[in-house]
Symmetry: C2
């Protein structure tokens, strides 16, 4: 299967590496809005200007779009769905229905197959929520994120005047997780579920007390959380906070029986050393499925909910029945 990578940041590099772990995948090219001459890929994949993508129609089975959800993907994915089968990792939950409609329209009109919002959340966590809700209709589910780096929150801190660099960790509250795992079905506020740990490099002479206050009081991002702010040097940040680990848990507690007397707890847990590389690994598996669905003349926009699991897997039906069932 021939893959294109559109956008070459952390996620695009992850896709390039993940493709190497899948013998049925070949990366045809990386497409970038930067000057291609200045971009060197990790594994020697050729680099082209984004504007040249349409020259590759017929040579790419699935284009994996590695842009940001805020401004890139709402524009890129519908546009590229006119030329290619496409996949993105659009993660602005509130705007998913709108994005779906835009991509679906273009893909249907041109006979392409598209998948939006693939990755782990949305993605594998969404699948867990669906399977759990289908199996235990009477219950309640919880999603915890972390401990892991939130790039959105790190960026928000970096925009504060006087901040040179920052790394923000989202941390699930252990006690809350344990109550959910015990099947207590607790009502939990935002503050009771997660805390936020900020490591901040201040510019020389900056007012640290003011920076801390601004972080703690930032609406949506920090105001509803117990937030700790630790000032460190750039060297410490580079040394101790270079990675992009993440993870989390989806837990559903439900009841069955004549009188709901039997409790059941289902939990999916992820512990990831590299958020972008893991997300990229999900995208590659999804690319396989989208390529196969396209060959079967299944067109339009899909989500992970529409993919028969067998289509994600390199093995044949006989092999998965014999070895994985």
């Amino acid at each position: 299967m021939k893959i294109g990578i559109y956008g070459y940041g952390n996620l695009g590099r992850g896709v390039e590496l993940a493709a190497r772990q899948n013998p049925d995948m070949e990366v045809v090219g990386v497409f970038t809005r930067r000057d291609p001459a200045g971009v060197k890929t990790l594994t020697g994949v050729p680099v082209y200007a984004a504007a040249r993508a349409e020259d590759f129609v017929g040579e790419i089975d699935v284009m994996i779009i590695c842009g940001g959800s805020a401004t890139d993907l709402p524009e890129m994915t519908p546009k590229l769905a006119r030329l290619f089968n496409v996949i993105d990792s659009f993660d602005t939950h509130a705007r998913i229905p709108e994005h779906f409609e835009n991509v679906d329209r273009e893909a249907l009109r041109t006979g392409h197959t598209a998948l939006i919002s693939a990755g782990w959340d949305p993605g594998l966590f969404s699948l867990a929520r669906l399977y759990m809700n289908a199996v235990l209709p009477e219950g309640k589910d919880y999603t915890f994120w972390g401990r892991g780096v939130s790039q959105g929150h790190s960026d928000a801190i970096r925009r504060i005047p006087g901040v040179k660099d920052a790394r923000q960790y989202t941390v699930p509250v252990r006690e809350a997780v344990e109550r959910v795992q015990a099947g207590e079905n607790p009502e939990l506020t935002t503050r009771q579920k997660h805390t936020r740990e900020c490591f901040v490099v201040a510019e020389e002479g900056a007012d640290r007390a003011l920076i801390e206050k601004r972080i703690r009081e930032m609406p949506n991002y920090f105001a509803d959380y117990d937030t700790t702010v630790t000032f460190i040097s750039q060297e410490e940040l580079n040394r101790d906070h270079r990675g992009l680990p993440h993870g989390g848990k989806v837990i559903r507690c439900g009841a069955t029986g004549g009188d709901r007397e039997h409790a059941h707890v289902m939990e999916l847990s992820l512990k990831l050393d590299s958020n972008p590389e893991f997300t990229a690994s999900v995208l590659i598996a999804c690319a396989r499925a989208i390529g196969r669905m396209h060959v079967r003349n299944i067109f339009g926009c899909k989500t992970v909910f529409d993919i028969a699991p067998a289509d994600l897997c390199i093995l044949s039906g006989e092999e998965i029945r014999a070895h994985l069932l």
Copy 2:
């Protein structure tokens, strides 16, 4: 959707109760090989002789077959697949390919849709293994069962002369689970993964030392495990070991990166108060999917790997995209 229940033991009763939690489901009848006059259902569903099932062709969308894997299902499922769309929970892993062929042949010949080996293992655990393998092709996965009652092992103990009743718990070894969760990818023997706890009611005057020896040395069932045997009274067994709890974990550790430098741990964990009621809840969700696939003229034998997750869920595509993605 109209459901039939073929076989009315613990699993059949679980299906009857699970259907009540799903407003789109209606149980038309229970079919039993016992005298229907002597069977009373939990929710007032009518009971018919198994031999009368074919009178209900056209009135049942999906027949859920609740028989045993050893002798019932290999015969029942292919036979009933000639008359109905069918689902079973066939769990003899080694014989799945053969069972699949037999059911597929009959279902294809008569234009029915069948699903074998649904439940949690095989079933949800199989799905977890497939998703995890697809996403992390370079890695290793582990399945731990328990702490929970193994009915097969309890039955094996009850067949020993001098044993009046018994309950066997399969228990995962905590240290092994923790090493796997830590991403160590250990090599583990059968003995290192699980222990077996047996609670035995001996007949009066029976040779307890001999019973214990026979349990511990029983090949396949106990010889490869650290096994503890505790003799208790029938009253204690009835009081403390009446339930059928179970559960377990599927864990996969894999690596990504230019030099496999990033480790990832994925884990699905189930903690179930009632094994048969939870299994039944999975079967009901699968019945929904099989009914929908049949309407789309998708015939033959399927497994959970072939079911698009959206088909398991009572909600519409718009609803699941808006609320679960």
